[in-house]
Symmetry: C2
Subunit: 301 residues, 2 copies
Amino acid sequence: MSILVVGSVAFDTVETPFGRAERVLGGSASFFAVAASFFVPVNLVGVVGTDFGEKELAAFAGRKIDLEGLERTEGLTFLWEGKYSHDLNSRDTIRTDLNVFEFFKPRIPPAYRSSDVVFLGNIDPVLQRDVLEQVNKPRIVACDTMNFWISRKADELRKTLAKVDVLLVNDTEARELSGEWNIVKAARAIRAMGPHTLVIKKGEHGVLMFSDEGSFAAPAFPLEEVFDPTGAGDTFAGGFLGYLAGAVGPPDQELRRAIIMGSTLASFCVEAFSLDRLLTLTRTEIDARFRQFLELTRFSE
Amino acid sequence: MSILVVGSVAFDTVETPFGRAERVLGGSASFFAVAASFFVPVNLVGVVGTDFGEKELAAFAGRKIDLEGLERTEGLTFLWEGKYSHDLNSRDTIRTDLNVFEFFKPRIPPAYRSSDVVFLGNIDPVLQRDVLEQVNKPRIVACDTMNFWISRKADELRKTLAKVDVLLVNDTEARELSGEWNIVKAARAIRAMGPHTLVIKKGEHGVLMFSDEGSFAAPAFPLEEVFDPTGAGDTFAGGFLGYLAGAVGPPDQELRRAIIMGSTLASFCVEAFSLDRLLTLTRTEIDARFRQFLELTRFSE
């Protein structure tokens, strides 16, 4: 069993009320890959520039993350710079230098083509479909997107969604994509576009999942210290899909566990800058917090 | 077993994107009393004017709601008029005529003084303490408040909170009261002021409870049609405390069930204007939705 992720590998410069991190490892595929690698081998497809060195690669070393698909080309690596508000609930993008990512055209190495699960990170929906044409029928095709594609490439996005099993978006994106304010109506409209499973991420308010097995609501873990929210959504996706890729139980139960596993990984991600906390994380810590989620939500008739 | 509620009984004029209701029954004590009466007898203390007639009283008739404490004085009943935004997520107050409620001084009838549970609705914290001086040691003292009292009568509110077991507020109020943005830190600070149980209402994002038994997170029920959110918070409080007043099981389990029961009642409240949906509600419907909450949140290790 293995999972393929296609997305950004980047440098982030992040300022939060608690400090500043300069040119640290970021990008959706980075967070996703490290989170998913706790559960199954990960095949990573992305692009970096010549400024991406051994120090950054060290984050992936010693993990079940294959880097054959991580292209290195002439130029600079994607750089994002952002500053969070005092309450961490909003952020301003100071700078987005796409650099080599601007011309990213995902090439899937032959060894990756039979990955069981494919995660299409937040890239042009045309490229997302292009990835699907390069792989053999995966068991699960999952996909992320954002407002930019929803408004600028609506038709292309629709074509991609028709080929997707699981869509992960936040509540604002779900509303924009469906044109429905009510989240239940939005979910029905989006599921009619293709994805039989829709995961709506609500940040500190948790997650809602709509699937053939019914609806599932999970809270975010109430943390006393949220240090840096960057990458939480991608880490959630990595934990969710990584767990699901390796799951062998009844789908209904495994889907719910996968949501909690994603929430668990995301709750660790925000405890430090970049991937710092994920890189020290152990399976024992993951399982302990998963059980804390059970305690946080349990009640009986 | 019985529960005492002290709060407003009012006329509401409400406009939502779905319609308009003129001078319909509202007020915190009205919503609370009807919700709580599904579980235990309710003793209601409030004040209305001479314009409050048989039509309005009919809402309480045939229920376990005692109205000896509902004072009627010369003048007009409290009138609130509000208009909700297109998405129902914010509302403008068009008009607040306190009328007879401006001089409300709660008098607790002798028959009410040994109520097991006391709910102090959102009134001046000085009056809230005044109520506590008129009752015999209740098993649970619960209390609501709002930004107005938090900023204008901080010292008086602190004195009241020192006598309270359970505080129910929304997330904005919790942050303002504690001076902490982080909700876990806010909860710790507020619990140090007196209430051993803190219930933080987050509207469509559900409820967080912090108590000696740990933390509990519950989602709001994902509804396809939200018609009018007015009274949802008071209905939640009525379902929560009404259930708790009659509960005989282990506190940890009963507190959690009570939160779900409050959420269940609130989910019905918003389906129609005023108390309309609550007045047609049956215990069978309540229990069915409680079980839907179990289905919505269940997962296993």
